[in-house]
């Protein structure tokens, strides 16, 4: 077998081994850890790209672990949906890894830095595993690997409230994970298989069974908790606001997206569209809660004074969009939902990275203290503005593309009343981002920050050059700017991601 055939397993093995080697690397030389992390995430990103090429060429790739045939052995499946999510997650992981160095140095005690990167690698392993696996019990295990590493990463936050946030998330995350495990148990009980594709074949005959209905209920509630669908969102704001900046960015951009991916898999691959529509009216329930999430996320974001918390609540609203697209169960809406996984990762990633820079440079997280930052860090704030415009859904940005498809999908499903929901939420989003943008550009700074390059512990010119007085080092600035520019690039040249997303949507709806 050539190396290419083993890519689906390498995408998990590489970060997993890196996680083990990271503390050893730290023993040799602490500063090597960052280089190692960047290298590994880059390799993972390359693997994801080559998987995309393979899938575009040959369609679905099935990898048999240890050579055992699918329904019995564990199978890894790369199809147009999972490869899309793999690409998004690995790209964000790489961008954030490049960014991480300075921010991690500033927020995490030096002795713990190698462990931080080690857990970061485990987190990537978990996300990749959840996305690529074709075995439902394997999916549960990877989900728990992801969750455990998120708890640890959040607990590394500088404020002691991070501990409480992490603990609360641990309790709720474990409830969610165990619910998924119970769901897996009921499905195994009636079908005797754990293979996702095989379940999709066997289940339609058993749709009347109460065990199947129970399994479905446990899956839906458990996953809604994992991806923070509105009434089950309470763990999210604290977790995002007290985590280290790097962690907020990467978790907000990837973890809930992978949760949404799992929900799509359960709704459409394990169960079928027929089941979602006719056996239980789950789509109506999800549409209701998703609309509630979209509106309430924006309303709650409006009342926040802390920028991280505002972005966290806005994430809750954005999760609503993804679930809404899934619940409308037609090709257009589903395309919108899948593409929003990508778009939201880009824009929320760039916004959280900007906040990380502001925290690194000035230490403020209060929106009222953003006064006049536009003059001090023009590039960073331009990135923020681009991200904000995308969140609002201004034309020519990625936010517009996904909202457009969602609106078309809503009309297509005959639910025109969802269009005003999307519009109202966009207006609210505009209002709460405008508050920040106004502070940034139209107020004079009332405090003068005396942070000079020397204070942050590095010499200008050697490694990070200072673009202007308060502008961040290059390693932080470049990933942030790249993400926000991509918000525009894929807003204008939307064809490529839309094509992959609509392929994935057709795949989920059973059209091939």
């Amino acid at each position: 077998m050539t190396l290419t055939e083993h890519l689906p397993i390498l995408i998990i093995i590489v970060p997993l081994f890196a996680a083990i080697l990271m503390p050893l690397t730290g023993v040799v030389n602490r500063s090597l850890c960052w280089y190692f992390t960047v290298l590994v995430t880059f390799v993972v990103f390359l693997i994801a790209i080559s998987l995309v090429c393979n899938v575009m060429e040959v369609g679905r790739i099935s990898y048999r672990l240890g050579g055992w045939e699918p329904p019995w052995g564990i199978e890894y499946v790369v199809d147009s949906l999972s490869v899309f999510v793999l690409l998004v997650v690995s790209f964000i992981a790489f961008a954030v890894a490049v960014y991480a160095r300075r921010s991690v140095e500033a927020e995490i005690p030096a002795g713990k830095v190698p462990l931080f990167y080690s857990v970061y690698m485990l987190f990537i392993t978990g996300l990749m595993g959840v996305t690529i696996t074709g075995d439902i019990f394997n999916l549960y295990v990877f989900l728990e690997i992801t969750s455990l590493s998120i708890y640890t990463l959040i607990a590394m936050g500088p404020n002691r409230r991070a501990l409480i946030a992490s603990f609360n998330y641990l309790i709720l995350g474990t409830i969610a994970g165990t619910f998924v495990l119970i769901g897996v148990g009921y499905l195994y009980m009636v079908t005797g298989t754990l293979n996702i594709a095989d379940l999709g074949v066997l289940l339609p005959k058993l749709y009347g069974s109460s065990a199947v209905l129970t399994a479905f209920a446990f899956f839906t509630v458990g996953l809604s908790l994992k991806l923070a669908l509105f009434p089950l969102h309470i763990w999210l704001p604290n977790a995002y606001s007290y985590a280290p900046s790097v962690v907020s960015a990467v978790v907000a951009a990837t973890a809930t997206k992978v949760g949404a991916y799992v929900l799509l898999r359960i709704l459409f691959t394990v169960f079928s569209v027929d089941f979602d529509l006719s056996v239980v009216p789950v789509t109506y329930i999800l549409i209701f809660f998703a609309s509630l999430a979209i509106i309430m996320g924006s309303v709650l974001a409006l009342s926040q004074t802390n920028i991280k918390r505002m972005l966290a609540y806005s994430s809750i609203g954005q999760v609503g969009y993804i679930v809404l697209g899934a619940a409308l169960t037609n090709e257009l809406a589903l395309t919108g939902s899948i593409i929003h996984i990508f778009n939201h990762a880009l824009m929320k990633g760039s916004l959280f990275l900007v906040v990380g820079i502001v925290v690194y440079k000035t230490g403020v997280t209060d929106i009222s203290e953003f006064k006049g930052l536009g003059r001090k860090m023009p590039i960073t704030m331009a990135a923020f503005t681009l991200g904000a415009l995308s969140m609002i859904g201004a034309p020519l940005t990625v936010g517009f593309v996904s909202k457009w498809y969602l609106a078309l999908g809503a009309i297509d499903a005959g639910m025109w009343f969802l269009v005003p929901v999307i519009l109202i939420s966009s207006i609210l989003t505009a209002v709460y981002f405008w508050r920040v943008v106004e502070k940034i550009y139209f107020y004079k700074p009332d405090t003068v920050y005396e942070v000079e390059p020397v204070d942050s512990g590095f010499e200008p010119g050697t490694d990070g050059c200072i673009v202007s007085r308060l502008e961040a080092p290059v390693t932080m600035l470049v990933p942030t700017v790249v993400l926000s520019i991509l918000c525009i690039v894929f807003g204008i040249a939307a064809t490529l991601p839309v094509e992959i997303a609509s392929r994935a949507a057709r795949l989920l709806l059973g059209g091939g």
Partner: protein
């Protein structure tokens, strides 16, 4: 009726244990008690898996020569993994509780909230 209650008693026990654990996780104020609840909650699910593996009259799947009927070994192996996940979660939770105790001087939720209120009052 009696058949469903007595014949499937292990499933009833699983549900009872699960609800007890779930209640403790949500309602108890002491963080350690929450973790105890979490363990009960997860262990209940192991019972559920092991129960479904039982084949009436079946024996342990290691005795290859004498018996004709074996219990399904797969749920047992799945639960080995489940136990690993549960132990790791408990370990992370206990480590967090130690750090919470160091930071707040208490593991009671209401006391922690009080400490939090006092400190934010001074800011």
């Amino acid at each position: 009726m009696i058949e469903t209650i007595l014949g499937k008693y292990n499933y009833w026990i699983y549900i009872a244990l699960m609800m007890i654990g779930f209640y403790a996780m949500v309602a108890k104020e002491n963080l350690i008690k929450k973790i105890i609840g979490m363990s009960v909650f997860q262990t209940a699910v192991f019972l559920f898996y092991v129960s479904m593996a039982k084949v009436t009259g079946g024996t342990a799947p290691i005795e290859m020569h004498h018996a004709k009927l074996y219990d399904n070994p797969l749920p047992h192996t799945l639960m080995l993994t489940g136990i690993v996940v549960s132990v790791s979660t408990t370990a992370v939770a206990l480590a967090l509780i130690i750090r919470i105790y160091k930071a707040y001087g208490s593991i009671e939720e209401d006391r922690i909230l009080d400490v939090e209120k006092e400190s934010s009052g001074f800011e």
